[in-house]
Structure formats: C-alpha cells, structure tokens
C-alpha cells in the first residue's frame, strides 16, 4: 500500500491513503479473518474466476485458514488477496498464481507456472516444488520462496522484498531489478542481473554469465547476518555456508545513470 498525501482533483477512480483521515481509511476488498477458523475448498470442477470468488466469500465469512484441493495447474488462483490469510494449495498452480497479493501467507504443495506472485506487496509465499519463468516478477515486498528450481527471468523488474530459491535459476535472473534481494542457492544461467538498477543478488552455485552492468561485490557482515536470518524464515539452506556466496550488484555504468539527456548522449557518442 503506497503512502500518498496529495489531494486529487478532476475525474478519477483512484483513491489514495490520506494520513489525515487514517481512522476512516478503508482498504477495499479486505476481510477481517480468524486464522483458527479453517475450511477446505475443492476447485476441481471450478474455473479460476469461480474459485477466486469462492475464496473471497470464505474470507468474508471470517475463514482465516483455507486449504485448496485439486488446483490441478489452473491459472490465476488466489490472486488479489489483500488481507492476512493462511492459504494452502494441495497441488500445483498454473500461470499468475497468487499474483497481486498484499499480506497472506501462502504455501503451495506443488509446482507453480509462470509469473507466480507477480506484483506481490507483502506476505510470505512458499513453493514446495519447482517454479516457472518470471517467478516474482515486479514484486514490491514480502518473502517469496521456492524450494526447487525456477525458470528464466526470476525477479524481473523486482522493486522490493526477497526472492529465495533452493535450487537453480534460469537465464536473465534479476533482469532490470530495481530494489530488493534475490538469493539463489544453486546455479544460475546466463545474463545474471542484466541491466539491474539496484538491489542485490546472492548466488551459491555457478554463474552462467554476468549481464550488462552486473558486477560482483564483497560480502559484508550485514549480508551474512541477513542471509542467515532469511534462510530460517525460508525453511531452506540449513548448513549452507552463506559466506561463500557470490554477491552481485549494479555497476551503475549504464546510460541511465549519467546526467545526460538522450540527445546529449547521442552527441557525446
């Protein structure tokens, strides 16, 4: 949830949080749920819209722990959940699973397809098996964890939060990331951190190649402390020697870091 204080004028549907009216602020689409109130939902014969509407209805009834049975690789399940919730999938998700969430704790006892948790704002998502490409694309916050391996472009356009992968990652990991941290315990493919603006990537295994402007940086005491703490949260990396990981940051040498306008840059070249 972004904090804005400007007053909008003109025709707009957009609502911003006004600190002066905090008591009256209502985060649309949220529910007050009880973690101890638990239920199961079999989505075998539902499409994704029906399943998501049913999850929303259960949350409106106060259920704080929902177990989804038979997701069977369906797309876009568990998206847009903006309140606290324990959401457990007994199986695998397709594309765009648990995207645009802000707060829930999610566990997927299977695999996830492309773009899992895209635009996640807060919360914790744990994938027990593998994940497809664009894992954690553009996340703003929270912890996104995959215990298996992930595909290409993991953390593309990441703007905050942490992505932690127990296995290997494909090409273009951290492509154009802007903030946050990516941790890969295994190997990564080519073009790691290509054109990253900021943020940090840690790799435990071999690196296929560095992308444009991605450079190695020394591990610090803070890095080691943070990684050790996060591994406990992520339930992976036991006995992993974090001090031997490779740290990658932006070299900040690309054209967008100088003060020249594009036309001036052209002249300089």
């Amino acid at each position: 949830m972004g904090l804005h204080s400007e007053v909008l004028t003109g025709k707009t549907q957009q609502k911003f949080f006004n600190p002066d009216e905090a008591e009256n602020f209502f985060y649309w689409g949220t529910h007050d749920v009880d973690f101890n109130k638990r239920t199961e939902l079999d989505v075998k014969d539902m499409d994704c819209k029906q399943a998501n509407e049913k999850i929303d209805r259960l949350m409106s009834e106060g259920y704080g722990t929902i177990v989804i049975k038979n997701p069977q690789g369906k797309h876009s399940l568990g998206v847009g959940i903006l309140n606290k919730l324990n959401l457990i999938f007994e199986g695998s998700l397709g594309y765009f699973g648990v995207g645009s969430i802000d707060g829930p704790i999610v566990r997927v006892n299977g695999r996830v397809g492309w773009s899992c948790a895209e635009n996640m704002m807060a919360g914790k998502v744990v994938i027990e098996k593998n994940a497809g490409s664009c894992f954690g694309a553009a996340i703003r916050g929270g912890d996104l964890i995959c215990k298996g391996s992930v595909g290409a472009r993991t953390g593309i356009d990441q703007k905050g939060g942490s992505i932690i992968v127990g296995g290997d990652a494909g090409a273009f990991t951290g492509f154009m990331m802007q903030r946050g941290r990516i941790v890969i315990l295994g190997d990564v493919g080519i073009n790691l951190g290509d054109s990253m603006y900021d943020g940090t990537i840690y790799v435990g295994g071999k690196i296929g190649s560095f992308g444009s402007d991605a450079v190695e940086a020394p591990m610090t005491k803070n890095d080691i402390e943070w990684l050790t703490r996060k591994f406990k949260v992520a339930e992976i990396g036991n006995n992993f020697d974090v001090s031997k990981m490779t740290k990658i940051v932006s070299g900040k040498k690309l054209w967008n870091y100088d003060a020249l306008e594009p036309t001036e840059k052209k002249g300089a070249i």
Binding site: S92, G151, A152, D168, F172
Partner: protein
Amino acid sequence: MCGIAGLIHRGKSSNVGEELQHMLQALKHRGPDSTGYALYANNDGQNFILRFKVGENVGEGSSSVNEDESVYDERKKLVDKKLSELGATVVKEDRLTPYSYRYEMKYDKDLMEFSKALESIESVEILSIGKSLELIKDLGDATAVSERYGLNKVQGTHGIGHARMATESGVDIKSAHPFWGYPFADVSVVHNGQLTNYWNNRRVLENKGMRFMSECDSELIAVFLAEKMRNGATLEEGMKESLTGLDGVFTYFVATKDSLGMAKDTMAAKPLVLYESDELVAMGSEEIAIRSILPQEIDTYDPFDGEVKVWQI
C-alpha cells in the same frame, strides 16, 4: 501465441490419439484457429502411409479461396496417375474429407523425388509420409479435428500436437502444424514462437534443394533439421545446431518413428512444462495440458534456456 503438446510412452503403447486430444483441447485458448496431430501409430510397418491434401478447408474462419469440389476429384486422379508412374502401389485408400486423403502404399525408391513429383500437381501437398506417422491437421479445435478424422481411437507410442493462433501466415491447413520433415519418413515438428531469420534461412535451404510448402516461419524448423540430418547429423545434433542457427523465440518438439525431442531457445521466451517418468514423458505449453491426462499430483518442471532433450520409446 500457440500451444504445443507431446507425449511418449516408453516400452508400451497407449491411446495416444485420445490423450493428445485432451492435451490440445486444454490448450485451446492458446490457439483456436487450427489443430494438428502427428501420431506414431501401431501400424504393421510394411507399407508407407501417405497423407496428402488436394485443396484447403474453406469453412468458417478460413483464409483460403473457395473452390468447386469437382477440382478435388480431378487432382486426385492426377495423383493416382502420378503414383502409378512413380511405381508406387496403393494398397488402401481413404477419403477423409473432400480435400484430404490417407493412402497405404508400397514404394521403395527415393522419397525426395517422389515428393517433388507428387507436389508438382497444382494444390497437392503431402502432409506426411511414414510407416508409423499419421499427420493430421485442419481448422478447428482439438476435439473438432479429432472427431472429423476419427483420431480418438489411434493406438501408438508417441505423438506431438499443436493448437495454432495464426500470426505469421494465413488460417489454412498448409500453415497449420505439425510440419513433416520432408523428405524424411516419420519426422514431424511443432513450434511455439516466432523465427526472425526465416527468409535468410529459407533462401539458403532452397538453394540446397530443400522444399517449403507454406510461408509459415515454423516450417523452417522442420526443413532446417531435415537438411542437417540429410548431411549426416543425428536428430539431437541437428536440434543443438538449431539453437544458434535459428533466430527468434521458440520452443519446439520434433518426433521420429522411435523418439521425441524438445528444444528451447536461449532466451527461454516461450513456455514449456515437462513431466518425466520411466514409463511416460508428457509436456506442453502449460501444465493444464499434462493435468488433462495425469490429474493426480505429479512432479513437473520447466526446462531451462537452451536446453535440448530427446527420449526414445
């Protein structure tokens, strides 16, 4: 965007026609224009199966020019005459639709010369030649095509299929996948993606005597691999060369009479989910394709960028 699916049973046969139908139907949203199957059936292996068309499906959604059906009969007569001249003996013939045929025939000479001769007849295109390959493609979704050609009872070891969203060329059978790996018997290819050096490659390959029947960029993969194999490369070697020889984004499957392979470009820009066990390999553009035949909980994964894999039956 297109959807592709493939499966191979190792050490046994199954109803691959029905299985592939379910997989492709689950991917219909990725490509509603046409559907194609390359099924490797339990034929007796004595005769060649020749599948060819003498015209296009001009039904709803087609970009083809309407023709009087009488021209199909004329072209079929010319095909029969040409087969006789080539020394092929037709053992059995089936007219599957007004414009497509399946022949069983005996033939023991060069397939390239055979194909050139047959396709010299106006609007005649060989869809496939092989002793186990049954290549069927037409407009419509997987169920419609399967019902039209009676595919849900085809027993075999493996198969690949394609649900097409037309982007680079017309909505017609000649641009639909799979593509036969002319002039090799029992070779077929399906592709999801776009190739950006199609014309450069096509000019080179045509100068080497290879044949293109459509303007669909995906056909290049079949021709590219066929040319490599003609020069002695194995299927896997040809596929590895394709990673640098083909430019663009692609995930493709290729099948032969006893193997199934996949290749993914170095950008990993097109999706693929894979399930692999000792008995079965199933893969598709989305996991729901695999789930349509394996609803129980299974372990699947995405192959990485630049990966090539080949499985034997």
